[in-house]
């Protein structure tokens, strides 16, 4: 398993780490059992533009790198644009991910959507863009320990 330089950069120097205390939307996906939890904070302007976004992630290198890249990809975008973010776009922007790590990009997409869901909810609109529970058990893997 080899991470691209881009992944390593976003892992070592993650963009937009932290919290937004007065966030307009907060989403959290994954769980500690699976080994990945991502929390996203968004600050949305009156015009529906994501002015600020921050994340906190518990997880592997890819989890941190995809979180970081996802925040970069939605920052300054409208909510509508942000909703179009796909995990594939995150993977592409990171110049690839090892197959076993693709699920991290899915999680990043879901985290963004969970934050937007929360943003709508606070505004009284009920929408759910992200599956409620990300199941780590569906992942297929080869084992390898030495």
């Amino acid at each position: 398993m080899v991470y691209s330089e881009k992944v390593m950069d976003h892992f070592m120097n993650p963009r937009n780490v932290g919290e937004i205390p007065d966030a307009d939307g907060v989403g959290m996906v994954g769980n500690a059992k699976c080994g990945d939890i991502m929390q996203m904070f968004i600050k949305v302007s009156d015009k529906g533009i994501i002015e600020d976004v921050k994340f906190k992630t518990f997880g592997c290198g890819a989890a941190i790198a995809t979180s970081s890249m996802a925040t970069e990809l939605v920052k300054g975008k409208t909510i509508e644009e942000a909703l179009k973010l796909t995990n594939a776009a995150v993977v592409e922007a990171l110049e690839g991910l090892p197959p076993v790590k693709i699920h991290c990009s899915v999680l990043a997409e879901e985290a963004i959507k969970a934050a937007i869901t929360d943003y709508y909810k606070r505004r009284g609109i009920e929408m759910n863009f992200a599956p409620s529970e990300h199941s780590c058990c569906e992942r297929d893997c080869e084992r390898r320990k030495n």
């Binding site: 398993m1 390593m8 892992f11 070592m12 993650p14 780490v17 932290g18 959290m28 500690a32 059992k33 699976c34 080994g35 990945d36 939890i37 991502m38 929390q39 906190k56 992630t57 518990f58 997880g59 592997c60 290198g61 890819a62 989890a63 941190i64 076993v100 699920h103 780590c136 992942r139 893997c141 080869e142 084992r143 390898r144 320990k145 030495n146």
Partner: protein
């Protein structure tokens, strides 16, 4: 601290150990001058044959068995597969049950799973918090249908050393064979086959300074198992394939060196204890494995709120090579079955970090590892959404 990339600190000897220069030196003349096929009648072949048997005698001497009881294989995995499948299929029709532990290496576990698919019954015996096998459960399970009891001598992740002689006694009491995967043990702790009591034992060269790609299986005189590799009848008809003489010579040399350096393992154990002490001073951490029945080089600690792969990657950047039982490690996405078997919650299993030391590590290495790990854990916790809040890490404990 981050750019200290000049001198790397290798602390992943359980994954593989650097090939010892003495071993390369022992192998080089074999590559250049003793490349014959030991089966050949002519001078080149006979010379190779003599070197082969000399290496076997040396290796057997270190291990406390007869040369004829030692079979060279291509790795620990092959030895494990051969021992288990060999014993299972040899007993088939008469005995149908295999007993092993929950903390075996995948070379044993996956082999047992394959046997289950093929109709064998396999029982996986549990272990206690420290990783020691439940001998009572073993006693209950072993019966006259049991072909084989296979228990790992020293665990690769948590370093727990099992009471293998007792395991062998229990197995023999029920007429079963006893096999031990000693891949992590040989080279690190004394292993004396003349006293151990097992019927089979596997080892792998790259865990003690020989290259990857050479192993051995000890099969006690009189024990019959099925062949895994059929062919030209090498290794007294039991393991075919033209013999890898350079590596066999290297394996024998590495075994000798390990024996010479066995005294040095006390120093390694002291480094281990200091490292454990330093790491446990980090809040929200715990030691995985047994406090005393433990390989001299093995340190395995879990840190709450952080995930293992991230720690390994950061430590790597800081010049330290370590490993983790996290789901995210390498090709795996399940957290370590060993950490789960000792009762560690999944979250903590994801946050495990393994350092495995060798004679090459120094006190300075250890202090640097402690300081770097503190920094990394702190860095990652700060970005962890589940970290309850910033808690000052106390100063590094002073050395005893």
């Amino acid at each position: 601290m981050q750019d200290n990339n000049k001198k790397r600190i290798y602390a992943d000897n359980a994954a593989t150990m650097p090939v010892l220069p003495e071993v390369v030196e022992a192998m080089l003349p074999v590559f250049y001058d003793n490349w014959g096929n030991p089966s050949s009648l002519h001078e080149e072949g006979q010379r190779a044959g003599r070197a082969l048997e000399a290496a076997r005698t040396t290796a057997a001497g270190v291990l406390g068995c007869r040369p004829e009881e030692l079979y060279f294989t291509s790795c620990g995995t092959e030895s494990d597969n051969w021992a288990i499948k060999g014993a299972a299929y040899a007993a088939r029709n008469k005995k149908n049950k295999i007993i092993t532990s929950k903390i075996e290496h995948h070379a044993v576990l996956s082999t047992c799973e394959a046997l289950e698919k093929d109709g064998f019954e396999v029982k996986y015996i549990g272990v206690d918090k420290g990783g020691l096998i439940d001998l009572d459960e073993l006693r209950q399970q072993v019966d006259d249908k049991t072909a084989l009891v296979a228990v790992i001598m020293a665990n690769n992740e948590i370093g727990t050393i099992q009471p293998i002689s007792e395991v062998a006694e229990i197995a023999h009491g029920a007429g079963a064979l006893c096999f031990t995967d000693a891949v992590q043990a040989v080279g690190s702790i004394p292993v004396d086959l003349s006293k151990l009591g097992v019927d089979m034992l596997s080892l792998s060269g790259h865990k003690f300074g020989a290259p990857k790609g050479i192993g051995a299986l000890y099969i006690k005189k009189g024990v019959r198992i099925r062949n895994l590799l059929e062919g030209g009848g090498h290794e007294r008809g039991r393991r075919s394939g033209t013999e890898n003489l350079p590596y066999i010579v290297g394996l024998a040399r590495a075994l000798e060196i390990a024996r010479e350096r066995m005294g040095d393992m006390k120093r390694v154990a002291a480094l281990r204890d200091r490292l454990i002490e330093g790491l446990l001073a980090i809040p929200h951490s715990c030691l995985n494995g047994h406090p005393t029945e433990r390989l001299p080089g093995n340190v395995n600690v879990s840190f709450e709120y952080v995930e293992g792969e991230g720690m390994v990657l950061w430590l790597d950047k800081m010049g330290i090579s370590a490993s983790t039982g996290s789901a995210c490690s390498s090709k795996s996405l399940d957290p370590s079955h060993v950490l789960l078997a000792i009762g560690l919650p999944v979250e903590l299993a994801h946050g495990s970090l393994r350092f495995s030391l060798s004679h090459a590590n120094t006190e300075e290495d250890i202090e640097y590892i402690i300081a770097a790990t503190r920094e990394v854990v702190e860095k990652l916790r700060k970005m962890s959404p589940i970290y309850p809040g910033y808690e000052a890490i106390p100063p590094i404990p002073t050395e005893r």
